[in-house]
Symmetry: D2
Subunit: 343 residues, 4 copies
């Protein structure tokens, strides 16, 4: 059994991680910390975990965490980077669901996240935890930077096109629609039901922190700078993320459909839909799948890719457990193979 | 492995049954029928089942169904009663998620359901599949009448009070709030998103088909006629059912809290919340739990019980699989032990 | 033109008041205060008011407010009671949308609201602003206590029965379902979309502040103590309130339908639906109507009344403007006669 | 008073038209037809209209309709084209909310709508009813083709850029998100609450009927063929439409913000938000406004325009009444000047 610790389990990624790990046959939940809820049973905050998780929130304690085989950080940005060096030294492996180790360029990270990085020496070692790109590196990683929700859906949608050099990488557009849970569980007026329900809006058009993360992923794949316009939208639902991607095809190709099917033929969590399909976010609700379809409307040279994930699963906790499975040599889909809840 | 067949798998109870059975370690999905979708893959209609269920909808075929160990009917009322006698004769066992075998009094059934019962000879044999009442009978049943969603939540809430003779059974009130999936997956204007979202209404106040079913369950427990007012409401959500129950206490009692905890101490799927709690429907979303709390507001003699279930799981497909587990001697919670999806 | 001031216009009752008053032909919005938003344009916070309201939030200023003909308090409980005496002395009239002057018994008020009342001398003078009960008193009032949302829907539903002495007033049950906007616009985890959407729960079963307010209204009508069980529920929608009321009929009556129709025959904002109807909350969305129907299910002696309002209009801002119209001798329905938005 | 008739008032555009016309000070609702609801009171189907509209649905009767000053068609595509010639001959004026007269090229119309046009001789005379483009023509029109919801939001967003020749009109992208009411009030499984709530999907990527309508509007403005990619999405809300538009700037310009403000300076229903804003769909719920903002993210040459409308008001019934006001010389905003309902 793998002893797992969770730092910061009171947000939505945290409770989703708890839900998944509580059902994982090879994981023993060992410690969960939260400064604000110390001493309270986890199942008091999240009644869905009653009779399944009997842990109590504890103070973050380096000793307790160090004794874990793996520590997940489901914390705000800037928390993991403080404790991770000591945990790695103590022999634990770390999966950060926040952004601390996602951007390789420390200056760019500090600019977008508005703080000084306190363990930049780990940026080279940290592996970007997108299994469809870095599977082998993840297996051996001590430190995994779990991807953001938007980057996961956008990269999986663009990669087949970019890797094959089929589209103009100077002019990529990612129009993304996220559920409200992506904004977290903190008390904000803008995510109240009465503000966010029956409403839809773009936000962060001038610049969103997932922009450099997506750009880095694309540039790594294509080997040169790319031009990306990224517009996220807040949409009135709890879970789900839909990326609508636009690119201009510049090189001929027999079948985009086949390109996508071949690229993901061996991937357990990427499902390329039949030609002409439109994936629905609900088809992945509560599941670790990314479902994708590719279109070329009206015979023009604009390729449209539709890519959906559950932002809390494939976009956060599920992908983190996928990474853990790889890191510990377990079957990839162990504990994250459930069917989406529909309706 | 238990060979299972499903008749009528295109509604919401059907797809939920498919989701649960696809993950059940001791079930082999053998046949699924639907007159309207013959020849189509199940996963075409329900993309959440892609890569999990590769069955194709077939014509209802008595021979194929007869070869199953168990046949679930997830059909409109009046369908199961036609085929069940032959299936039982062929040695299959039957679980009907519709109402055909729920009411013991055939005249009452025919009045409420507006049709002639075609296999009334089975009404005596049929077991009402509420495990918390009929566990032992279910184990040996050939034919189980799976309870309705409202009756499940209402009976589990009233039973401890009624069985103990603590309340006036002449004046019971069940004010129930159901999600829209309770109305089924057929195309009706009244359940369109634009009609049912941002809206709440009572319906069927003059009489709802679950009224005689609840009354029968109460009368069986108390051994005499009861007086019940049942008002169902349609509420703007996909899943969930909240029963708010009112009864007048007529006999003193030390602790209603203890009464409820004792009644359900050994029940794997009834969770009595701590004193003073208010169960939320989302705490059981996608799970087979019923969560209950009991109150006596303001020290008056009115007892208020709050009881929540997922109408598609404990109120339909999950309870059906619970019954199957009992019928086939499996662990009760096998395949229905997942954690509710929250948020 | 009536000069109107609003204290505390940043909550949902406040913005609804602004919406209505901005379109009222006889009102000039003169001042709106908010400590937290001083200096900001109202339409910056509420973009629906762009081009309609060009006021800027100001510090609460007794002089500016005193120059108004009428001052509305859309503030938390306990705010109006501090300033109202001075405003009345200065000749302004006051409508309090909060609870400061709703309960005549100061001790009971202080117990339920947990604070000392600072202007109890006004409790005798204050008129409870339910036009269907106190129309004449409201016309001449200097100070109107605008009713709560639950009390409005419950009282309008029970009054015909209670006033006629038809039901047992010792055992009244009000099972109420409110939209989330009833919980206000402050940042709370429990009213986030991801917590309150796809969810339904009872709350405050042991005691809610609207209980004494409803009881006072019933006792005033019947002239003796009543026994009331009141259970509020939070339901996943923005606007709307549905009260389901249960009472035991003890005196014969020819037609409950006629009783209700007669009671409200001259009321501009109470609409008694045809026999057998079920009012929907959406049928009053954005409008000042209360729609009601009355049932006697199964020929038993339990009367069921269904009563719906928009909690922000008839349950708050609309009723406040109705009161203002009465106080200033305007046509009752002026400015609040719009049709509900449906769908 | 203008005598108005409505053909086909049982859909969402129809009931919205009824809501607006019922409050319009210069309109007398004279006749409303519906084959399916003949003899039923309008307020039976739409209880929000109780006490406001006492019309009864009647058979479509050319004589009754001919006596109207204006006839609105809120019918499926292909209905208006049959009756309009006779109505015009009889002296009535016609506003078609469907698509029959929107496309000038009859062959293109017949291809996209899959039927033969029965009154193509009127296509030249019909005025495309976008007041911000065709105000003067509308004033004198006998026949107005009311624009579709997507075309309204997209054209108003692109027009300032296109008319000024600032962007590459060969590569325009319109990523649009619509509420479910855009799909109409007919009973379809795909728009049930349980299918469309908590879900988001693109649809019609290979080609949507609003594509040629948008393209025609853009080509008329720019005077040459344009290249447009249009991807509509279904989003889980009742009302609202958000267009996110992408174009490549090819000509320098001092201030896009000023360009948009100048273009719409005199428009009563287009509101250009301050620089850096993100319009929300709820800010126009129930109102006739289009709110727009323009961005140039990251200093790159991609212009992003955000444009929101209520699909049933500015995208249908409100714009139709705006057109009527123009046609009959009334104040433009008469009867459609209400404030959006928020929250």
């Amino acid at each position: 059994m793998i002893k797992a610790g969770i730092v910061g389990g009171t947000g939505y990624a945290g409770v989703e991680l708890l839900r998944i790990l509580a059902m994982h046959p090879q994981v023993e939940l060992s410690v969960i910390t939260s400064r604000s809820e110390v001493g309270k049973p986890v199942s008091g905050l999240f009644p869905n975990l009653r009779n399944k998780v009997d842990l109590v929130f504890s103070e973050p304690d380096p000793v307790a965490l160090s004794s874990c085989d793996v520590v997940f950080f489901a914390t705000p940005n800037g928390t993991a980077m403080a404790t991770t060096p000591a945990l790695l030294d103590a022999g634990a492996r770390v999966i950060d669901l926040a952004a601390d180790y996602r951007i390789r360029d420390v200056a760019e990270w500090e600019q977008w996240y508005g703080m000084t990085h306190t363990s930049p020496q780990l940026l080279d070692e940290a592996v970007y935890g997108l299994p469809e790109v870095n599977r082998e590196l993840i297996r051996n990683a001590r430190l995994v930077a779990n991807p953001g929700c938007y980057p996961t859906a956008v990269l999986l949608g663009f990669l087949p096109l970019i890797e094959a050099g089929l589209v103009d990488s100077d002019n990529l557009i990612a129009d993304c629609k996220s559920a409200v849970s992506g904004a977290g569980r903190s008390a904000n007026v803008s995510t109240l039901l009465c503000e966010a329900s029956e409403n839809l809006k773009a936000y962060g058009v001038s610049g969103h922190r997932h922009l450099p993360e997506i750009r880095q992923g694309l540039e790594t794949a294509v080997g040169m700078p790319v031009g990306l316009t990224f517009v996220p939208h807040l949409t009135p639902m709890i879970r789900g993320l839909h990326a609508t991607l636009y690119a201009t095809q510049v090189t001929e190709n027999d079948s985009l459909q086949r390109l996508f099917e071949d690229r993901y033929a061996d991937e357990p969590f990427v499902d390329v839909l039949p030609d002409g399909s439109h994936p629905e976010t609900r088809s992945v609700k509560g599941s670790n799948y990314c479902r994708i379809s590719v279109h070329k409307p009206q015979g023009r040279d604009i390729v449209v890719v539709l890519s959906v994930i559950d932002n809390l699963v494939k976009g956060a906790a599920g992908q983190a457990v996928h990474n853990m499975n790889l890191m510990f040599g377990l079957e990839e889909s162990m504990g994250i193979d459930s069917v989406a809840l529909m309706p």
